[in-house]
C-alpha cells in the first residue's frame, strides 16, 4: 500500500482510503491489529471502524440490555494481538467461546436454562467460573471446558455475584450488596470442594456498611497499574437504594489478606450510575445535565474536570439509555440511541462517531483498554449490543476502534459544538484602561454599523452601503478613486466582521462559487476596499474573478487580480485561460483597441502568477486545468503561446516555459516555432549589439584617458550563432569593463573608489547582469 501523492487536497480523501483498506481486510478477518498500512500510521486519524455481528441474542424483551451479555474478567487483560478467541456469557441461553480469526465462529458452548441470568463470569485456562441467578437464587458455577461433555460444580451464594475474578486457587466474588468474598476451588479437578463456602476477603471486616439493600453499580478490577502496590486493586461503587447516595470502595486484593484502602461515602444524591474507569481516572456521565466528568481514583468524590456534551446530545431526554466506556486514557466511548461516539476527554473533542440504523438502541458491553500512546497500541475493539426496535432483534456486534495517540492534531476543529452567540470580537486596544468595557464599546459600534449595513442591503442602496462601511473602516478622509486598505491608518477589526459584511452582498453557491445576493446590490466601493484588505476570506475568492469579469466590473477585476491577497493560483489560472480565449475571439474580430484592453488584464494576471507562485506549481496547475481533449488543449496552448509572444513582457516569457512544459516539445506548429525563434534571434542580436556598443564606449573613454591614443581595431562583425561565442565575448567584455565602486557613501566614492578599483585582482570572474 503506497500513498504517494499526499497533498492538501488528497488528505481528506485519505480517511476513505484507509477505510477501504479496512474493508478489504475485514473480509478475511475482523481483526487486523497490524495491518500492512503501518507506514502511513502517522496520517491515521482516530476512528470507529468497521463493525461485525458476533452473534444474535435470543429475544428476551423483559431483560435490560445491560444484563444480557457478560464478558469474562480475564478478557480485559488480553491485548489485541493475543485476542483470537472471545468468551461470552449470554443470559438465558449459553456461555460460549468464539474464534475471531479468520471469521467469528462459535467453537464451544454450555447451555443454560431459559430462566438463568448470567451475572458475571471469568475464564482461566479451560475453567469457567460463572455467577448465575435463577429465580432469585444465586449460585456460582464452575465449569471445565472439555471437548466432550463439560461438567459443572455449583456453590450457592447469598446474593448474586456482580463480579468474579480468578486468583491463585481462589476466586474473588463481589456480591451485589458490596461484600467481597473468596471462593476456594480445586483447580486440578475444576470443582468446588464439598465443604467450600464463601469467606470474607477483607479481613476483620465488621460489615457495618454492607446492608442487603446496597447495590453495586460499578466495579473495576485494576491490574497492571502504575501505583506502588504489588497486588491488583478492586474499585467499586455501591449505591443505597433509598438515599441514592454513593459509596466508593477501593480494595487491595491480596487473597485472604485483602484490605480496604478507602471507603468514601458521598452524601450527594446520584441518579445516574454511568461510570467508567481508565488509568487512574474515573469518568462519570450525568444524563440529566449531559456533563461528562473526571475524578481521580484517589478522590472519586471530587470532580477534576468536566466537559459539556449538550452540543452532542442536544435533543435527547435524560431517561434514555447511555453507556460509557473508557477505552484508552482520556478517550471514551459513549453510546446513545443508535450512535456510538468516541470522545477525547483531554481536548473535549468528538474524535469519531458510528451510526447504526436509526431507531436502534445501542449499548456498550465491553471495550478493550489500550494505552493509545504509540502506533502499536492504538488499535482496539469494543463490543456492543444493537437492539432493533422494530423486530426486537438483538445482535452482539464488534466494532474496531482506532483510539489514536491522544494528540492535539487529532482533535483539530473537532470540538463538541457549543452554542456561541458571539459574532465577532470588539478588539479592544491593549492600552485601554478596562478591556471589557472597551470591548463592549467597540462591539456596540460594530453592531450599529452592521445594522445600518443590513438596512442598506434591504433598501438595495449600494451607495449607502459603501458610505457606512468605509466611514467605519477607513478612519482617514477618502481620497479620489477607489478606496484602498492601509494598515497604518485603517481601523483594525476582527476578520469575522469582514466576513459578515461580505456575506451581506455575496454568497456561496452549491459549488462554493461566489455569487452576488442581489444583482442590484453591488457596493463597488466596499468591494474595491475589501479586495485590498488582507482579511478578505479565502472562501470568497472561488469564482470571484469569473464573477467580476462576467459583470464587466473591470476596475474591480483588475484590483482583484493585482491586489487581492488570498486569490488562489487556481483562480488566476482559470482567469488566464479565459482571457486567452477572449483575446482569441477578439483578435479574429480584429478590434485592436479591445485587444489592448484585454492584454492589460492578461499582463496583470501573468504578473500576479509569476510574482506569487513558483514555475513548477504554475505548470502543475496549468496541466490540471487542461484535462480535456488532447486536441482542444493543444489548440488552447498554442493560442496561449501566441498571446504570450505578442505580449512580450519579461513575465510572459517566464510563463512561456510553463506552457511549453505542459504542451511538450514537439507539439507546436511551425509558425509558432518560427515566431519563437524569431524573438530569440532578435533578442540575441540586440544583446550582441548592445555589448559591442558598450565596449566601444568604454574603449573610447579609455582611449581618451590614455595619451597614447592607439586605435584598436575590432574584429569585423559576424553572425552569432553559437552560445559559446556569446559567452566568450562576454568574458572579454567583462575584462575590459571598469568596475565602479558601487558605494553610496559620497566620501568613500571620492576617496577610495579609485583605490579600491585598483585592487581588482586578476582572478576575479563575475557575472554581468543585463
Amino acid at each position: 500500500m503506497e500513498f504517494t501523492p499526499l497533498t492538501n487536497s488528497t488528505l481528506s480523501d485519505l480517511s476513505h482510503l484507509h477505510l477501504s483498506v479496512h474493508i478489504a481486510d475485514s473480509i478475511a478477518s475482523p481483526f487486523f491489529p497490524h495491518s500492512p498500512q503501518k507506514h502511513t500510521m502517522s496520517l491515521d486519524v482516530p476512528s470507529l471502524g468497521e463493525t461485525f455481528t458476533l452473534t444474535e441474542l435470543p429475544r428476551i424483551p423483559d431483560l435490560p440490555l445491560s444484563a444480557r451479555v457478560v464478558i469474562p474478567e480475564s478478557q480485559k487483560n488480553i491485548s489485541l494481538d493475543e485476542t483470537d478467541t472471545i468468551d461470552l456469557g449470554i443470559s438465558k441461553l449459553i456461555f460460549s467461546s468464539y474464534v475471531l480469526k479468520p471469521t467469528p465462529k462459535l467453537v464451544w458452548s454450555y447451555p443454560l436454562s431459559p430462566s438463568t441470568i448470567i451475572d458475571s463470569m471469568d475464564v482461566k485456562d479451560s475453567l469457567y467460573l460463572i455467577g448465575l441467578t435463577e429465580r432469585k437464587k444465586s449460585r456460582l458455577s464452575l465449569v471445565r471446558r472439555t471437548i466432550e461433555a463439560s461438567e459443572a460444580s455449583d456453590l450457592n451464594i447469598p446474593a448474586s455475584a456482580v463480579a468474579i475474578k480468578f486468583a491463585a486457587g481462589k476466586a474473588y466474588v463481589l456480591l451485589k450488596n458490596g461484600d467481597l468474598k473468596l471462593a476456594s476451588y480445586d483447580s486440578e479437578l475444576g470443582t468446588f470442594s464439598d465443604d467450600s463456602e464463601l469467606v470474607s476477603a477483607v479481613a476483620g471486616s465488621l460489615n457495618v456498611k454492607s446492608s442487603k439493600s446496597n447495590l453495586v453499580v460499578f466495579y473495576t478490577f485494576i491490574s497492571n497499574h502504575s501505583f506502588s502496590h504489588k497486588n491488583d486493586l478492586l474499585f467499586y461503587i455501591t449505591q443505597t437504594p433509598k438515599a441514592k447516595s454513593l459509596a466508593y470502595n477501593l480494595i487491595a486484593l491480596d487473597g485472604a489478606k485483602s484490605f480496604e484502602i478507602f471507603l468514601i461515602s458521598s452524601k450527594k444524591r446520584f441518579e445516574s450510575t454511568v461510570f467508567s474507569y481508565n488509568d487512574g481516572v474515573l469518568y462519570h456521565f450525568d444524563p440529566s445535565t449531559f456533563q461528562l466528568t473526571s475524578r481521580a481514583l484517589m478522590k472519586p468524590h471530587e470532580i477534576v474536570r468536566s466537559i459539556d456534551l449538550n452540543g452532542l446530545l442536544k435533543d435527547s431526554s435524560n431517561d434514555e439509555l447511555f453507556s460509557l466506556s473508557a477505552i484508552a486514557p482520556e478517550r471514551l466511548l459513549l453510546s446513545h440511541r443508535s450512535l456510538i461516539y468516541m470522545i477525547n476527554f483531554k481536548y473535549g473533542s468528538l474524535l469519531s462517531e458510528h451510526t447504526n440504523h436509526s431507531g436502534n438502541q445501542v449499548y456498550l458491553v465491553f471495550s478493550l483498554g489500550v494505552q493509545g500512546n504509540n502506533n502499536d497500541l492504538r488499535n482496539s475493539f469494543a463490543l456492543y449490543l444493537n437492539l432493533e426496535h422494530s423486530s426486537k432483534l438483538c445482535k452482539l456486534k464488534l466494532i474496531q476502534v482506532d483510539v489514536g495517540l491522544n494528540q492535539l492534531s487529532e482533535s483539530l476543529g473537532k470540538a463538541i459544538k457549543t452554542d456561541s452567540k458571539e459574532r465577532w470580537n470588539g478588539l479592544p486596544n491593549i492600552g485601554a484602561e478596562d478591556l471589557i468595557s472597551s470591548n463592549k464599546k467597540h462591539l456596540e459600534k460594530m453592531e450599529s454599523v452592521y445594522a445600518s449595513l443590513e438596512k442598506a442591503k434591504l433598501a438595495q442602496d449600494s451607495k449607502k452601503f459603501d458610505q457606512t462601511l468605509l466611514a467605519f473602516l477607513k478612519t482617514t478622509e477618502a481620497t479620489s478613486g477607489l478606496p484602498k486598505y492601509s494598515h497604518a491608518s485603517d481601523r483594525v477589526v476582527d476578520h469575522r466582521f469582514i466576513e459578515q459584511v461580505l456575506s451581506l452582498f455575496v454568497s456561496l453557491d452549491d459549488q462554493g462559487d461566489v455569487q452576488f445576493v442581489h444583482e442590484e446590490l453591488i457596493p463597488t466601493g466596499t468591494l474595491a476596499y475589501l479586495l485590498t484588505h488582507p482579511l478578505f476570506p479565502v472562501a470568497y475568492t472561488k469564482g470571484l474573478l469569473v464573477l467580476l469579469s462576467s459583470l464587466e466590473e473591470t476596475d474591480l477585476l483588475k484590483r482583484a487580480i493585482q491586489l487581492c491577497k488570498p486569490i488562489t493560483i487556481d483562480e488566476l489560472m482559470t482567469e488566464l485561460i479565459n482571457l486567452t480565449e477572449v483575446s482569441e475571439e477578439i483578435s479574429t474580430e480584429g478590434d485592436s483597441q479591445e485587444l489592448e484592453f484585454v492584454a492589460e488584464f492578461l499582463r496583470a494576471t501573468i504578473d500576479r502568477l509569476i510574482k506569487d507562485h513558483s514555475l513548477p506549481s504554475i505548470t502543475a496547475k496549468l496541466l490540471e486545468k487542461l484535462n480535456n481533449d488532447f486536441e482542444i488543449d493543444n489548440k488552447k496552448l498554442e493560442r496561449m503561446l501566441d498571446i504570450f509572444i505578442n505580449l512580450n513582457t519579461n513575465n510572459s516569457w517566464t510563463l512561456t516555459q510553463a506552457v511549453i512544459d505542459v504542451g511538450g516539445l514537439f507539439n507546436w506548429k511551425v509558425p509558432t516555432i518560427s515566431a519563437l525563434s524569431e524573438v530569440i534571434d532578435s533578442k540575441i542580436e540586440a544583446l550582441t549589439e548592445n555589448s559591442y556598443n558598450l565596449t566601444l564606449t568604454n574603449q573610447a573613454i579609455l582611449a581618451r584617458e590614455q595619451i597614447q591614443s592607439k586605435k584598436k581595431k575590432k574584429a569585423t562583425q559576424f553572425v552569432v550563432d553559437n552560445i559559446h561565442e556569446i559567452t566568450s565575448q562576454r568574458v572579454q567584455l567583462d575584462a575590459i569593463l571598469t568596475m565602479s565602486n558601487n558605494t553610496t557613501n559620497k566620501k568613500l566614492m571620492v576617496d577610495e573608489g579609485i583605490e579600491l578599483a585598483k585592487q581588482i585582482p586578476s582572478y576575479s570572474k563575475e557575472r554581468l547582469i543585463f
Partner: protein, 809 residues
C-alpha cells in the same frame, strides 16, 4: 486553571549596566584601600568582587542611577560615599546590613552642574562643577554637607585634575590651556573655606599654553604638572607644566582615530591612552617608548588608574560599537605587570532593533505632526532573548557572537563566537567590512545542542559584483562540559540566498528551520559511524564520535519572501508555520499540510505559540488566540501596535498563560515611556496580573519560574507567582499520583497492623481465656492509631469508628 493564585510579584534580577560618570575622577569600579576588592557600581546594584578569585562576594541592591560621583569614605574605608546632584549618602559595602545606606546628607546650597569629586580629605570633599562653561571648584563639608565655592574659571572646554588634587588643567575656548595649582585650597582646613580669597591665590599660580580647544577629546594632568591632551585627530599633546625653562611640548603619535581617554599611571612614569582601536597604549614619558596591549574586546571609553591599586588599570569598554548614546560598558581591571585581566564585568548586551532615543524622537515628531492622542512607539525597540532550557542561561546575539548570561549569578557566563570576524578593531576603510551577524539561536529540549544561524556578507575588499551576495550558515554546536563546540556548519542551508527566519526544536534530537520563503527543513543527528558509536558508548566517551546533522525532510518554498514564524504543538504532533499573514498547520512527521484553516491577520505574523489547545498568533496589530479544537476565536483577542510585537509576547505552555508587554510614550512627560506587562489567560480579556514601569520593555521570555522581561536599558527582571505551590497543570497531576502512592503505602501499613492484631488476638484468646484479667487490658499505641487517620477525607464517621475499633481490639 482557576487555582492559579493572583499573587504575582515583579522583581529585578540583574544589576543593570555599570554607571557612566562624566567627571574625570570617578570610575564605576572602585578599589578598596587594601586593593583586594573591587566595588563595581551598577545602575541598581553594588557588586563587590574579590580580585584574587574574581568572584562576586557581595551584592547590595539599591538604585544608583542618579549617582554622579563616588569615592571611598576617607574616614571609614568600609563605606562608599556616593554623590547625587542634590545629596550625598554613605553605603556600607563590606558588611551585610539590613539598610545599606548608612547616612544621607543634603548638600547645602545645591551645586549646579555637579560633575565629580576629585579629592576627599578627612574633613571635606573637593568637588568640580560645570555650569554654562563656568568650571567651579568647591568643597563640601563631610559633617554638614555645606558646599562652598573655592575657585571659578569661565569658558572651560575640557579640564582635568591630578590624582592628588593639587593640579587643575583647563583647556579654554579661547585657545588656551591653563594649569593651576590648587594646593592652597585643598590643603587648607575645611573651616577656612568659607573665607573667600582662594580665587586670587590660585589664579596667581596659573601657567598658560596656547592650545586650540576644538580638537581636544580628553585630557589628564599629573601631580607634577604634565598635561596630556588627547585629540580627535589621534595624536596626544604633552605639555610639561611646572617647568621654569619655557614650555616644552611633546607629541605622542600612534592613534589614528580620536583618543578617547588618557590617564597617568599612579607612579606617573607612564601615560596610558586608548580609543576605538581597542588598544591600550602605554607611553613611557621619560624614555619615549610605547608599549601596546593586544586588542581588547571593545572600544576603550575610559581608562582609570586607582591609587589604592597602583599596578592595575581599570578600563571601560563600549559594548556596542554603533551605539549612539554612551550606552553600556564592560568593565575590565587589567594588571599592569602581566597585562592580564583581573576582573571583568559585562552587563547583558542584547541587540536592539532600534535605539530608544531614536524611537522617542520619532514618537515626538509624530506627536507634533498629528497631535492628539498618539502614544504608540512606531520603532521596533525590541530585542531577542533565547533561554537555554537546562542551564537557564540567557542567550543574546551580539553581532557575530552570542552572550550567555547567568541570571542566577547576575554575571555574564561566557561569550561564544559564532562566526569568524575581523577580531581586531576597525579603523578607517575597514569600517566598510560588514561583520557576520547571528540571527537565530535555538536549543534542543535537553540543552545539549545549539543551532545558530548567521548571515555572512561577502567582504568587499575587492569591490566585486558579488559583494551584495550574502551567504548564510547554519551551525550545530554541542555542549562540551564548559563550552559550545562546533560540530557542523551548513552553508546556505535552504539554498543560496534563502534566509532562515526561524529555528525551533521540539525534542532532544531535531531542529526545524524555516526560511523566509516558507520552506521548512528538519534536521536530525546521525552518528557518523554507528559501530564506533556503540564502542564509544561502552567506553562512555560520548563525544569521541562526531555527530552529523543531516537533512531529513524538506518542504517546498514559495516565491514570496516575508517574515516567518513557527511553533510546535505541545505534544509535538503538528507544526504551525506562518508565512506572511497566514498560518498553516503541517504534520510534524511528514511535513504535509493538514487541512485546517487558521484565520488570517492583517500584517505578517511575528510569533506563534500554542498553550493548551489555543494557538496564540501575534502580529504587529493583533494578538489573536484561536482555539484549535473548537476552531473558534478564544476571548483573548486584542488590538496592539508595536513593531517587533513578537518579542513582547511570551506564552507559558504549562500554565496556559500569556504575558504581553506594551510600551507607550507618555505624552505628558516628554521623554518618558510607560510600559505595562499583563498576564492573560486565553479564555479571558481580563488580565490576571498587570505591572507597570517607566522603562520600555524590549523583550519577554518564558522560564519555569515565570516570565522574564528585559527593558531597553538591558535590565532583566522576572514576573513570577509568589506562591509556587499553587502552580497548576502537570505538576498537580504528578501530585495526585504521588499522593495515591502514599495513600496505598499507608493503607498497606494500616492493613499490616490489622492483620498482626488479628493474629495476636487469636493467640491470646487461646492462651488467656479470662478477658477480665489485667494483662488483657492493653494500652492502645497512638502510632498505630495515627495510620488510621490517614486519608480520612470523605470517609464516613461510622467507617472511621469501625477502623478505630478494629485497631483498639
Amino acid at each position: 486553571m482557576a487555582e492559579i493564585s493572583k499573587r504575582w510579584a515583579t522583581s529585578m534580577i540583574t544589576g543593570g549596566n555599570p554607571l557612566v560618570f562624566t567627571g574625570p575622577c570617578s570610575f564605576p569600579a572602585v578599589s578598596s584601600v587594601d586593593g583586594k576588592y573591587s566595588i563595581v557600581l551598577l545602575s541598581r546594584q553594588i557588586r563587590v568582587y574579590l580580585l584574587q578569585t574574581r568572584q562576586c562576594i557581595r551584592t547590595v541592591d539599591m538604585d544608583m542611577l542618579k549617582v554622579v560621583a563616588v569615592c571611598l569614605d576617607p574616614g571609614n574605608s568600609s563605606q562608599l560615599a556616593c554623590f547625587t546632584k542634590k545629596d550625598m549618602f554613605y553605603v556600607s559595602w563590606q558588611e551585610n546590613l539590613a539598610e545599606p545606606v548608612v547616612a544621607t546628607l543634603a548638600i547645602e546650597p545645591t551645586i549646579e552642574g555637579f560633575v565629580d569629586v576629585f579629592k576627599s580629605a578627612s574633613d571635606c570633599y573637593y568637588v568640580l562643577a560645570e555650569n554654562d562653561s563656568v568650571l567651579s571648584v568647591l568643597s563640601v563639608d563631610r559633617e554638614t554637607a555645606k558646599s562652598c565655592v573655592l575657585f571659578q574659571i569661565e569658558g572651560a572646554h575640557e579640564y582635568a585634575v591630578s590624582r592628588n588634587g593639587h593640579k587643575l588643567a583647563v583647556v579654554l575656548e579661547s585657545l588656551q590651556a591653563l594649569l593651576y595649582d590648587l594646593t592652597a585650597a585643598v590643603s587648607a582646613p575645611s573651616a577656612k573655606h568659607t573665607q573667600l580669597g582662594f580665587q586670587d591665590a590660585i589664579e596667581r599660580t596659573v601657567e598658560s599654553f596656547a592650545f586650540p580647544h576644538k580638537s581636544v577629546s580628553c585630557m589628564a594632568v599629573s601631580s607634577t604638572g604634565i598635561i596630556a591632551i588627547g585629540t580627535l585627530l589621534g595624536h596626544i599633546n604633552v605639555l610639561y607644566g611646572g617647568s621654569s625653562t619655557g614650555t616644552p611640548k611633546g607629541f605622542l603619535r600612534w592613534h589614528i582615530e580620536p583618543v578617547k581617554s588618557v590617564e597617568f599611571s599612579v607612579d606617573e612614569n607612564y601615560l596610558v591612552s586608548g580609543g576605538t582601536e581597542k588598544v591600550l597604549v602605554f607611553w613611557h614619558l621619560v624614555l619615549d617608548r610605547a608599549q601596546f596591549l593586544p586588542r581588547l574586546s571593545g572600544p576603550i571609553d575610559r581608562i582609570f588608574a586607582d591609587s589604592n591599586r597602583p599596578d592595575h588599570y581599570s578600563v571601560a569598554l563600549r559594548i556596542s560599537e554603533g551605539a549612539l548614546k554612551i550606552g553600556a560598558h564592560e568593565l575590565l581591571v587589567i594588571s599592569g605587570l602581566d597585562l592580564v585581566s583581573r576582573l571583568s564585568y559585562a552587563p547583558v548586551c542584547p541587540t536592539f532593533n532600534s535605539s530608544m532615543s531614536k524611537a522617542l524622537n520619532a514618537a515626538r515628531k509624530r506627536h507634533q505632526k498629528i497631535g492628539g492622542n498618539v502614544k504608540s512607539i512606531s520603532h521596533n525597540i525590541t530585542a531577542k532573548l533565547t533561554m537555554h532550557p537546562t542551564t537557564k542561561h540567557m542567550y543574546t546575539a551580539q553581532g557575530s557572537s552570542v552572550q550567555a548570561y547567568d541570571l542566577i549569578r547576575g554575571e555574564q557566563a561566557f561569550v561564544q563566537h559564532i562566526a569568524p570576524q575581523v577580531s581586531t578593531g576597525k579603523v578607517r576603510s575597514e569600517k566598510k567590512l560588514v561583520d557576520p551577524e547571528v540571527k537565530e539561536i535555538s536549543f534542543t529540549t535537553d540543552g545539549a545542542w545549539m543551532a545558530t544561524f548567521d548571515s555572512m556578507p561577502s567582504l568587499n575588499f575587492d569591490n566585486l559584483m558579488s559583494k551584495n551576495d550574502t551567504s548564510y550558515a547554519l551551525k550545530f554546536w554541542f555542549w562540551n562540559e564548559s563550552s559550545w563546540e562546533l560540530t557542523l556548519k551548513v552553508v546556505d542551508p535552504h539554498g543560496p540566498g534563502l534566509e532562515i527566519g526561524c529555528i525551533l526544536s521540539n525534542s532532544a534530537e531535531s531542529f526545524t528551520t524555516i526560511d523566509k520563503n516558507g520552506g521548512i527543513r528538519i534536521w536530525r543527528p546521525r552518528l557518523n559511524n554507528p559501530l564506533r558509536a556503540v564502542k564509544s558508548l561502552v567506553a562512555s566517551q560520548k563525544h569521541s564520535t562526531q555527530t552529523v546533522w543531516t537533512l531529513r525532510r524538506a518542504s517546498q518554498t514559495s516565491t514570496i519572501t516575508s517574515p516567518v514564524s513557527a511553533c510546535y504543538a505541545p505534544d509535538g504532533s503538528f507544526l504551525v508555520v506562518s508565512h506572511d499573514n497566514i498560518a498553516k498547520i503541517y504534520d510534524s512527521a511528514q511535513l504535509l499540510p493538514i487541512d485546517f484553516a487558521i484565520p488570517p491577520v492583517d500584517l505578517p505574523i511575528e510569533s506563534l505559540a500554542i498553550t493548551g489547545s489555543c494557538l496564540v498568533i501575534t502580529s504587529q496589530l493583533k494578538i489573536l488566540s484561536y482555539d484549535l479544537v473548537s476552531a473558534r476565536e478564544a476571548p483573548l483577542f486584542l488590538h496592539v501596535f508595536a513593531r517587533g510585537m513578537g518579542n513582547l509576547v511570551a506564552v507559558d505552555t504549562n500554565k496556559q498563560l500569556i504575558a504581553v508587554a506594551y510600551n507607550e510614550w507618555d505624552t505628558e512627560a516628554e521623554s518618558s515611556v510607560y510600559s505595562t506587562i499583563s498576564v492573560f489567560s486565553p479564555n479571558s480579556l481580563v488580565p490576571i496580573y498587570s505591572t507597570t514601569s517607566h522603562k520600555a520593555i524590549a523583550s519577554l521570555a518564558t522560564t519555569q519560574a515565570g516570565f522574564l522581561f528585559m527593558n531597553v536599558d538591558s535590565e532583566v527582571g522576572i514576573l513570577s507567582l509568589e506562591d509556587k505551590k499553587k502552580i497548576a497543570g502537570i505538576q498537580q497531576e504528578d501530585d495526585i499520583s504521588a499522593q495515591m502512592n502514599k495513600m496505598l503505602i499507608n493503607a498497606q501499613a494500616a492493613a499490616n497492623v490489622l492483620f498482626a492484631k488479628t493474629v495476636n488476638r487469636k493467640v491470646q484468646s487461646e492462651q488467656v481465656e479470662d478477658s477480665t484479667k489485667f494483662t488483657s487490658q492493653k494500652s492502645v499505641d497512638p502510632a498505630l492509631l495515627l495510620s488510621i487517620f490517614n486519608n480520612v477525607d470523605g470517609v464516613g464517621l461510622d467507617s472511621l469508628f469501625e477502623k478505630v475499633v478494629r485497631v483498639s481490639q
